[in-house]
Protein backbone atom coordinates (compact mmCIF):
# COMPACT_ATOMS: atom_id res chain seq x y z
CA UNK A 1 0.00 0.00 0.00
CA UNK A 2 1.31 3.40 -0.93
CA UNK A 3 1.82 5.73 1.99
CA UNK A 4 -0.50 8.52 1.03
CA UNK A 5 0.78 11.23 3.33
CA UNK A 6 -1.53 14.16 2.98
CA UNK A 7 -1.49 17.00 5.42
CA UNK A 8 -3.48 15.35 8.20
CA UNK A 9 -1.63 12.02 8.66
CA UNK A 10 1.61 13.90 8.11
CA UNK A 11 0.84 16.17 11.05
CA UNK A 12 0.07 13.08 13.13
CA UNK A 13 3.31 11.37 12.09
CA UNK A 14 5.19 14.52 12.99
CA UNK A 15 3.48 14.91 16.38
CA UNK A 16 4.05 11.26 17.32
CA UNK A 17 7.69 11.43 16.20
CA UNK A 18 8.13 14.54 18.29
CA UNK A 19 6.70 12.82 21.39
CA UNK A 20 8.87 9.77 20.80
CA UNK A 21 12.04 11.82 20.44
CA UNK A 22 11.23 13.95 23.49
CA UNK A 23 10.63 10.90 25.65
CA UNK A 24 13.79 9.13 24.46
CA UNK A 25 15.82 12.30 25.04
CA UNK A 26 14.47 12.54 28.59
CA UNK A 27 15.33 8.91 29.31
CA UNK A 28 18.82 9.40 27.91
CA UNK A 29 19.28 12.47 30.14
CA UNK A 30 18.10 10.50 33.21
CA UNK A 31 20.60 7.73 32.51
CA UNK A 32 23.48 10.14 31.79
CA UNK A 33 22.79 12.03 35.01
CA UNK A 34 22.72 8.80 37.04
CA UNK A 35 25.98 7.70 35.41
CA UNK A 36 27.67 11.08 36.14
CA UNK A 37 26.53 10.94 39.80
CA UNK A 38 27.46 7.28 40.14
CA UNK A 39 23.98 6.38 41.38
CA UNK A 40 21.35 3.88 40.30
CA UNK A 41 19.00 5.28 37.63
CA UNK A 42 15.32 5.85 38.61
CA UNK A 43 14.04 2.50 37.40
CA UNK A 44 10.34 3.24 37.83
CA UNK A 45 10.57 6.50 35.86
CA UNK A 46 12.50 4.74 33.11
CA UNK A 47 9.87 2.01 32.80
CA UNK A 48 7.07 4.60 32.61
CA UNK A 49 9.09 6.58 30.05
CA UNK A 50 9.72 3.52 27.90
CA UNK A 51 6.01 2.68 27.92
CA UNK A 52 5.30 6.21 26.75
CA UNK A 53 7.93 5.85 24.03
CA UNK A 54 6.37 2.59 22.81
CA UNK A 55 2.92 4.21 22.81
CA UNK A 56 4.31 7.09 20.72
CA UNK A 57 5.94 4.63 18.32
CA UNK A 58 2.59 2.85 17.96
CA UNK A 59 0.88 6.17 17.21
CA UNK A 60 3.58 6.97 14.67
CA UNK A 61 3.13 3.61 12.92
CA UNK A 62 -0.64 4.04 12.98
CA UNK A 63 -0.40 7.43 11.28
CA UNK A 64 2.22 6.28 8.75
CA UNK A 65 0.46 3.03 7.78
CA UNK A 66 -3.15 4.24 7.92
CA UNK A 67 -3.89 2.17 11.02
CA UNK A 68 -5.70 3.13 14.20
CA UNK A 69 -6.16 1.58 17.61
CA UNK A 70 -9.42 -0.33 17.95
CA UNK A 71 -11.55 -1.57 20.81
CA UNK A 72 -14.04 -4.30 20.09
CA UNK A 73 -16.96 -4.51 22.52
CA UNK A 74 -19.38 -7.40 22.69
CA UNK A 75 -21.35 -8.96 25.53
CA UNK A 76 -19.64 -12.23 24.60
CA UNK A 77 -16.13 -11.28 25.64
CA UNK A 78 -14.59 -14.23 23.88
CA UNK A 79 -16.18 -13.36 20.54
CA UNK A 80 -14.95 -9.81 20.99
CA UNK A 81 -11.43 -11.13 21.55
CA UNK A 82 -11.61 -13.38 18.46
CA UNK A 83 -12.62 -10.37 16.38
CA UNK A 84 -9.83 -8.30 17.92
CA UNK A 85 -7.42 -11.11 17.08
CA UNK A 86 -8.56 -11.11 13.45
CA UNK A 87 -7.99 -7.36 13.30
CA UNK A 88 -4.53 -7.79 14.84
CA UNK A 89 -3.72 -10.16 11.98
CA UNK A 90 -4.38 -7.21 9.68
CA UNK A 91 -1.94 -5.03 11.63
CA UNK A 92 -4.35 -3.15 13.89
CA UNK A 93 -3.70 -2.65 17.58
CA UNK A 94 -7.03 -4.17 18.57
CA UNK A 95 -8.20 -4.85 22.11
CA UNK A 96 -11.41 -6.41 23.30
CA UNK A 97 -13.78 -6.15 26.21
CA UNK A 98 -17.33 -6.05 27.42
CA UNK A 99 -17.43 -2.44 28.49
CA UNK A 100 -16.16 0.82 27.09
CA UNK A 101 -12.73 2.00 28.24
CA UNK A 102 -11.35 5.51 27.95
CA UNK A 103 -10.50 6.20 24.31
CA UNK A 104 -6.93 6.25 23.08
CA UNK A 105 -6.12 8.95 20.51
CA UNK A 106 -7.89 8.18 17.18
CA UNK A 107 -9.33 4.99 18.65
CA UNK A 108 -12.10 3.28 16.71
CA UNK A 109 -14.86 1.51 18.62
CA UNK A 110 -16.67 -1.53 17.27
CA UNK A 111 -19.79 -1.83 19.37
CA UNK A 112 -22.38 -4.57 19.70
CA UNK A 113 -25.71 -2.79 19.91
CA UNK A 114 -26.83 -5.36 22.48
CA UNK A 115 -24.63 -3.60 25.02
CA UNK A 116 -26.54 -0.31 24.77
CA UNK A 117 -28.88 -1.11 27.68
CA UNK A 118 -25.99 -1.24 30.15
CA UNK A 119 -24.58 2.16 29.21
CA UNK A 120 -24.56 5.06 31.65
CA UNK A 121 -24.96 8.64 30.46
CA UNK A 122 -21.21 9.29 30.60
CA UNK A 123 -20.35 6.17 28.64
CA UNK A 124 -23.08 6.99 26.14
CA UNK A 125 -21.55 10.41 25.55
CA UNK A 126 -18.05 8.91 25.20
CA UNK A 127 -19.30 6.29 22.76
CA UNK A 128 -21.11 8.93 20.73
CA UNK A 129 -17.95 11.01 20.52
CA UNK A 130 -16.17 7.97 19.02
CA UNK A 131 -18.78 7.63 16.23
CA UNK A 132 -18.70 3.84 16.61
CA UNK A 133 -19.02 1.08 14.06
CA UNK A 134 -22.18 -0.62 15.24
CA UNK A 135 -22.73 -4.35 14.87
CA UNK A 136 -26.18 -5.74 15.43
CA UNK A 137 -28.22 -8.88 15.09
CA UNK A 138 -31.44 -6.87 14.74
CA UNK A 139 -32.49 -4.87 11.71
CA UNK A 140 -35.70 -3.39 13.06
CA UNK A 141 -36.37 0.32 13.25
CA UNK A 142 -35.57 0.41 17.00
CA UNK A 143 -32.05 -0.88 16.29
CA UNK A 144 -31.56 1.67 13.51
CA UNK A 145 -32.83 4.44 15.77
CA UNK A 146 -30.42 3.36 18.49
CA UNK A 147 -27.53 3.36 16.01
CA UNK A 148 -28.52 6.85 14.90
CA UNK A 149 -28.71 7.98 18.54
CA UNK A 150 -25.15 6.74 19.01
CA UNK A 151 -24.07 8.74 15.96
CA UNK A 152 -22.82 5.47 14.43
CA UNK A 153 -20.47 5.83 11.47
CA UNK A 154 -21.28 2.33 10.18
CA UNK A 155 -24.09 -0.14 10.74
CA UNK A 156 -23.24 -3.80 10.14
CA UNK A 157 -25.68 -6.67 10.43
CA UNK A 158 -24.54 -10.04 11.79
CA UNK A 159 -23.12 -12.30 10.56
CA UNK A 160 -20.31 -9.89 9.73
CA UNK A 161 -17.43 -11.15 7.62
CA UNK A 162 -13.97 -9.94 8.49
CA UNK A 163 -13.51 -8.35 5.05
CA UNK A 164 -16.62 -6.21 5.56
CA UNK A 165 -15.56 -5.25 9.05
CA UNK A 166 -12.06 -4.35 7.82
CA UNK A 167 -13.54 -2.25 5.02
CA UNK A 168 -15.75 -0.41 7.53
CA UNK A 169 -12.71 0.22 9.74
CA UNK A 170 -10.72 1.56 6.78
CA UNK A 171 -13.58 3.92 5.84
CA UNK A 172 -13.87 5.06 9.44
CA UNK A 173 -10.13 5.82 9.58
CA UNK A 174 -10.44 7.74 6.31
CA UNK A 175 -13.13 9.95 7.79
CA UNK A 176 -11.08 11.04 10.76
CA UNK A 177 -12.73 12.10 14.00
Amino acid sequence: MELAIDSSPRAEVSAAAHRLRSTLARLKAELELAEADGVAPPVQALIVGLREALASLTALEDAAFGLAPIQVLDDDERLAELTARSLRRLGYDAQSGRSLRSLRPREIVIFDLGLTAGLGAEEMALLKSARPIVVTGATDSAARAMAAALDAAEYLVKPVELDDLAAAVARRIGEGR
Binding site: A55, G91, P159, E161
Partner: protein
Protein backbone atom coordinates in the same frame (compact mmCIF):
# COMPACT_ATOMS: atom_id res chain seq x y z
CA UNK B 1 -7.32 8.21 33.52
CA UNK B 2 -3.77 9.17 34.41
CA UNK B 3 -2.34 6.18 32.55
CA UNK B 4 -3.83 7.19 29.22
CA UNK B 5 -0.44 7.77 27.66
CA UNK B 6 0.89 4.33 28.42
CA UNK B 7 -0.25 1.00 27.14
CA UNK B 8 -3.41 0.25 29.09
CA UNK B 9 -3.15 -2.82 31.25
CA UNK B 10 -6.70 -3.09 32.44
CA UNK B 11 -8.43 -4.41 29.37
CA UNK B 12 -9.41 -7.90 28.27
CA UNK B 13 -9.44 -10.52 31.02
CA UNK B 14 -6.28 -9.38 32.75
CA UNK B 15 -6.62 -9.35 36.50
CA UNK B 16 -4.09 -7.73 38.76
CA UNK B 17 -0.90 -9.65 39.51
CA UNK B 18 0.32 -12.76 37.79
CA UNK B 19 -2.52 -14.94 36.63
CA UNK B 20 -2.25 -18.66 37.22
CA UNK B 21 -0.65 -20.45 34.28
CA UNK B 22 -2.94 -22.61 32.24
CA UNK B 23 -2.71 -26.26 33.19
CA UNK B 24 -3.68 -28.82 30.63
CA UNK B 25 -5.85 -31.81 31.49
CA UNK B 26 -4.03 -35.10 31.00
CA UNK B 27 -5.98 -38.13 32.06
CA UNK B 28 -6.98 -37.66 35.68
CA UNK B 29 -4.30 -35.12 36.57
CA UNK B 30 -2.92 -32.06 34.82
CA UNK B 31 0.45 -30.85 33.59
CA UNK B 32 2.07 -27.44 33.33
CA UNK B 33 1.80 -26.17 29.78
CA UNK B 34 5.09 -26.39 27.88
CA UNK B 35 5.95 -23.37 25.73
CA UNK B 36 8.57 -23.04 23.03
CA UNK B 37 10.09 -19.57 22.54
CA UNK B 38 11.73 -19.01 19.16
CA UNK B 39 13.91 -15.93 18.67
CA UNK B 40 17.30 -15.52 17.01
CA UNK B 41 18.28 -12.70 19.37
CA UNK B 42 19.60 -14.59 22.44
CA UNK B 43 18.88 -11.92 25.08
CA UNK B 44 15.33 -11.37 23.80
CA UNK B 45 14.69 -15.11 23.81
CA UNK B 46 16.03 -15.46 27.35
CA UNK B 47 14.07 -12.49 28.68
CA UNK B 48 10.85 -13.75 27.12
CA UNK B 49 11.50 -17.24 28.50
CA UNK B 50 12.16 -15.79 31.96
CA UNK B 51 8.86 -13.88 31.99
CA UNK B 52 7.04 -17.08 31.09
CA UNK B 53 8.91 -19.23 33.63
CA UNK B 54 8.07 -16.74 36.37
CA UNK B 55 4.44 -17.05 35.30
CA UNK B 56 4.72 -20.78 35.98
CA UNK B 57 5.18 -22.27 32.52
CA UNK B 58 7.77 -24.82 31.45
CA UNK B 59 9.77 -23.06 28.72
CA UNK B 60 12.15 -24.25 26.05
CA UNK B 61 14.10 -21.90 23.75
CA UNK B 62 15.09 -22.26 20.07
CA UNK B 63 17.43 -19.74 18.42
CA UNK B 64 16.39 -20.22 14.78
CA UNK B 65 13.54 -21.42 12.62
CA UNK B 66 15.44 -24.62 11.85
CA UNK B 67 16.08 -25.32 15.51
CA UNK B 68 12.40 -24.67 16.26
CA UNK B 69 11.36 -27.31 13.72
CA UNK B 70 13.82 -29.81 15.26
CA UNK B 71 12.41 -29.13 18.72
CA UNK B 72 8.84 -29.59 17.57
CA UNK B 73 9.71 -32.89 15.87
CA UNK B 74 11.37 -34.10 19.08
CA UNK B 75 8.51 -33.03 21.37
CA UNK B 76 5.35 -31.11 20.49
CA UNK B 77 4.97 -27.97 22.61
CA UNK B 78 1.59 -26.82 23.92
CA UNK B 79 2.21 -23.39 22.40
CA UNK B 80 4.92 -21.69 20.35
CA UNK B 81 5.94 -18.02 20.55
CA UNK B 82 7.54 -17.31 17.23
CA UNK B 83 9.66 -14.30 16.25
CA UNK B 84 8.55 -13.03 12.84
CA UNK B 85 11.92 -11.93 11.56
CA UNK B 86 14.77 -14.46 11.74
CA UNK B 87 17.80 -14.86 9.46
CA UNK B 88 17.27 -18.48 8.43
CA UNK B 89 13.47 -18.54 8.09
CA UNK B 90 10.71 -16.03 8.66
CA UNK B 91 7.55 -16.94 10.57
CA UNK B 92 5.42 -17.85 7.52
CA UNK B 93 8.12 -20.29 6.36
CA UNK B 94 8.24 -21.90 9.80
CA UNK B 95 4.44 -22.15 9.80
CA UNK B 96 4.44 -23.72 6.32
CA UNK B 97 7.01 -26.31 7.41
CA UNK B 98 5.06 -27.08 10.56
CA UNK B 99 1.91 -27.59 8.57
CA UNK B 100 3.55 -29.62 5.79
CA UNK B 101 0.39 -31.12 4.39
CA UNK B 102 -1.73 -31.04 7.52
CA UNK B 103 -4.71 -28.69 7.35
CA UNK B 104 -3.87 -27.07 10.67
CA UNK B 105 -0.95 -26.94 13.04
CA UNK B 106 -1.58 -29.10 16.08
CA UNK B 107 -0.81 -26.39 18.67
CA UNK B 108 -1.30 -22.63 18.90
CA UNK B 109 1.40 -20.37 17.49
CA UNK B 110 1.66 -16.72 18.55
CA UNK B 111 3.81 -14.55 16.34
CA UNK B 112 5.92 -11.83 17.93
CA UNK B 113 6.81 -9.05 15.57
CA UNK B 114 8.80 -5.87 15.74
CA UNK B 115 7.38 -4.55 12.47
CA UNK B 116 3.85 -3.36 11.92
CA UNK B 117 2.42 -3.02 8.44
CA UNK B 118 -0.28 -1.24 6.51
CA UNK B 119 -3.41 -3.44 6.27
CA UNK B 120 -3.07 -3.76 2.49
CA UNK B 121 0.41 -5.27 2.74
CA UNK B 122 -1.00 -8.54 4.00
CA UNK B 123 2.38 -9.46 5.42
CA UNK B 124 0.86 -10.53 8.70
CA UNK B 125 -2.61 -10.88 7.31
CA UNK B 126 -1.97 -13.99 5.29
CA UNK B 127 -3.58 -16.88 7.04
CA UNK B 128 -0.75 -19.30 7.59
CA UNK B 129 -1.97 -20.95 10.74
CA UNK B 130 -0.89 -18.48 13.41
CA UNK B 131 -3.28 -18.02 16.32
CA UNK B 132 -2.41 -14.46 17.26
CA UNK B 133 0.05 -11.64 16.66
CA UNK B 134 1.75 -9.63 19.35
CA UNK B 135 3.86 -6.55 18.79
CA UNK B 136 7.18 -6.60 20.63
CA UNK B 137 7.18 -4.36 23.69
CA UNK B 138 3.61 -5.28 24.61
CA UNK B 139 3.17 -5.36 28.37
CA UNK B 140 3.80 -8.60 30.21
CA UNK B 141 0.24 -8.88 31.49
CA UNK B 142 -1.15 -8.61 27.96
CA UNK B 143 1.33 -11.18 26.65
CA UNK B 144 0.35 -13.61 29.42
CA UNK B 145 -3.37 -13.00 28.84
CA UNK B 146 -2.99 -13.76 25.14
CA UNK B 147 -1.02 -16.94 25.89
CA UNK B 148 -3.72 -18.07 28.30
CA UNK B 149 -6.38 -17.35 25.69
CA UNK B 150 -4.54 -19.30 23.01
CA UNK B 151 -3.83 -22.28 25.28
CA UNK B 152 -7.49 -22.55 26.20
CA UNK B 153 -8.33 -22.80 22.54
CA UNK B 154 -5.72 -25.30 21.57
CA UNK B 155 -6.36 -27.05 18.31
CA UNK B 156 -8.40 -30.20 18.08
CA UNK B 157 -6.17 -33.28 17.99
CA UNK B 158 -5.03 -34.41 14.57
CA UNK B 159 -5.42 -38.03 13.60
CA UNK B 160 -8.24 -40.28 14.73
CA UNK B 161 -9.95 -39.89 18.10
CA UNK B 162 -11.39 -43.07 19.61
CA UNK B 163 -13.85 -42.87 22.49
CA UNK B 164 -15.43 -46.20 23.29
CA UNK B 165 -17.30 -47.43 20.21
CA UNK B 166 -16.92 -44.08 18.50
CA UNK B 167 -14.04 -43.40 16.14
CA UNK B 168 -13.70 -39.99 14.46
CA UNK B 169 -11.08 -39.19 11.85
CA UNK B 170 -11.88 -35.79 10.37
CA UNK B 171 -8.63 -35.72 8.38
CA UNK B 172 -9.90 -38.68 6.35
CA UNK B 173 -13.53 -37.56 6.48
CA UNK B 174 -14.69 -40.60 8.43
CA UNK B 175 -16.59 -41.36 11.61
CA UNK B 176 -17.96 -44.70 12.83
CA UNK B 177 -20.06 -45.79 15.75
CA UNK B 178 -19.16 -49.45 16.11
CA UNK B 179 -19.37 -50.79 12.55
CA UNK B 180 -21.83 -48.17 11.39
CA UNK B 181 -20.39 -45.28 9.41
CA UNK B 182 -21.82 -41.86 10.31
CA UNK B 183 -22.85 -39.61 7.45
CA UNK B 184 -21.58 -36.21 8.52
CA UNK B 185 -20.66 -33.17 6.53
CA UNK B 186 -17.21 -31.68 7.06
CA UNK B 187 -18.11 -29.17 9.74
CA UNK B 188 -20.24 -31.44 11.93
CA UNK B 189 -17.46 -34.02 11.58
CA UNK B 190 -14.81 -31.52 12.71
CA UNK B 191 -17.03 -30.48 15.57
CA UNK B 192 -17.57 -34.07 16.72
CA UNK B 193 -13.80 -34.68 16.61
CA UNK B 194 -13.16 -31.53 18.61
CA UNK B 195 -15.75 -32.42 21.26
CA UNK B 196 -14.65 -36.06 21.45
CA UNK B 197 -11.00 -34.99 21.73
CA UNK B 198 -11.94 -33.05 24.85
CA UNK B 199 -14.30 -35.63 26.28
CA UNK B 200 -15.94 -34.53 29.53
CA UNK B 201 -15.10 -30.84 29.05
CA UNK B 202 -17.78 -28.22 28.43
CA UNK B 203 -16.58 -26.59 25.21
CA UNK B 204 -17.93 -23.03 24.75
CA UNK B 205 -20.06 -22.29 21.71
CA UNK B 206 -17.82 -19.40 20.74
CA UNK B 207 -14.82 -21.73 20.68
CA UNK B 208 -16.63 -24.20 18.43
CA UNK B 209 -17.58 -21.34 16.14
CA UNK B 210 -13.98 -20.16 15.97
CA UNK B 211 -12.41 -23.54 15.40
CA UNK B 212 -14.96 -25.00 13.03
CA UNK B 213 -16.21 -21.93 11.17
CA UNK B 214 -13.05 -19.85 11.30
CA UNK B 215 -12.58 -16.37 12.62
CA UNK B 216 -15.79 -14.81 11.29
CA UNK B 217 -17.66 -12.48 13.53
CA UNK B 218 -20.66 -13.70 15.49
CA UNK B 219 -23.91 -14.69 13.82
CA UNK B 220 -23.27 -18.31 12.89
CA UNK B 221 -24.93 -19.72 16.00
CA UNK B 222 -27.78 -21.29 14.05
CA UNK B 223 -25.32 -23.26 11.92
CA UNK B 224 -23.74 -24.59 15.08
CA UNK B 225 -27.14 -25.78 16.24
CA UNK B 226 -27.79 -27.40 12.86
CA UNK B 227 -24.45 -29.21 13.11
CA UNK B 228 -25.20 -30.49 16.62
CA UNK B 229 -28.60 -31.65 15.38
CA UNK B 230 -26.99 -33.54 12.51
CA UNK B 231 -24.45 -35.19 14.85
CA UNK B 232 -27.13 -36.31 17.31
CA UNK B 233 -29.33 -37.60 14.50
CA UNK B 234 -26.49 -39.66 13.04
CA UNK B 235 -25.40 -41.05 16.41
CA UNK B 236 -29.03 -42.18 16.96
CA UNK B 237 -28.27 -42.79 20.66
CA UNK B 238 -28.90 -40.09 23.26
CA UNK B 239 -26.27 -39.05 25.76
CA UNK B 240 -23.14 -38.61 23.62
CA UNK B 241 -23.51 -34.85 23.28
CA UNK B 242 -24.87 -32.91 26.24
CA UNK B 243 -26.00 -29.30 26.05
CA UNK B 244 -24.38 -27.24 28.79
CA UNK B 245 -26.76 -24.34 29.30
CA UNK B 246 -25.27 -20.92 28.82
CA UNK B 247 -21.88 -22.37 27.79
CA UNK B 248 -21.89 -24.88 24.97
CA UNK B 249 -21.64 -28.63 24.58
CA UNK B 250 -19.98 -31.57 26.30
CA UNK B 251 -19.05 -34.95 24.86
CA UNK B 252 -19.82 -37.89 27.13
CA UNK B 253 -18.52 -41.28 25.99
CA UNK B 254 -21.20 -43.97 26.16
CA UNK B 255 -20.55 -47.65 26.78
Amino acid sequence: MTRSTVWPQDWFTVSSGNPEPVRLPLGIGSVTAKLLVVDDEPRTAELTAEVLRRAGYAVDVARSGGEALDRVRAATPDLMLLDYEMPDMDAPEVLDSLRSGAERIGFPVIILTGARHAPGDQVLGIERGATDYIVKGTDRQVLLARIRGALRERRPPTGAVVRGRLKVDATHGEARLGDRPLKLERRPLLMLQLLAGRSGEAVPRSELLDQVWGSSYTGFEHRLEQAIHQIRRELREPGWIETVRGIGYRFVAQS
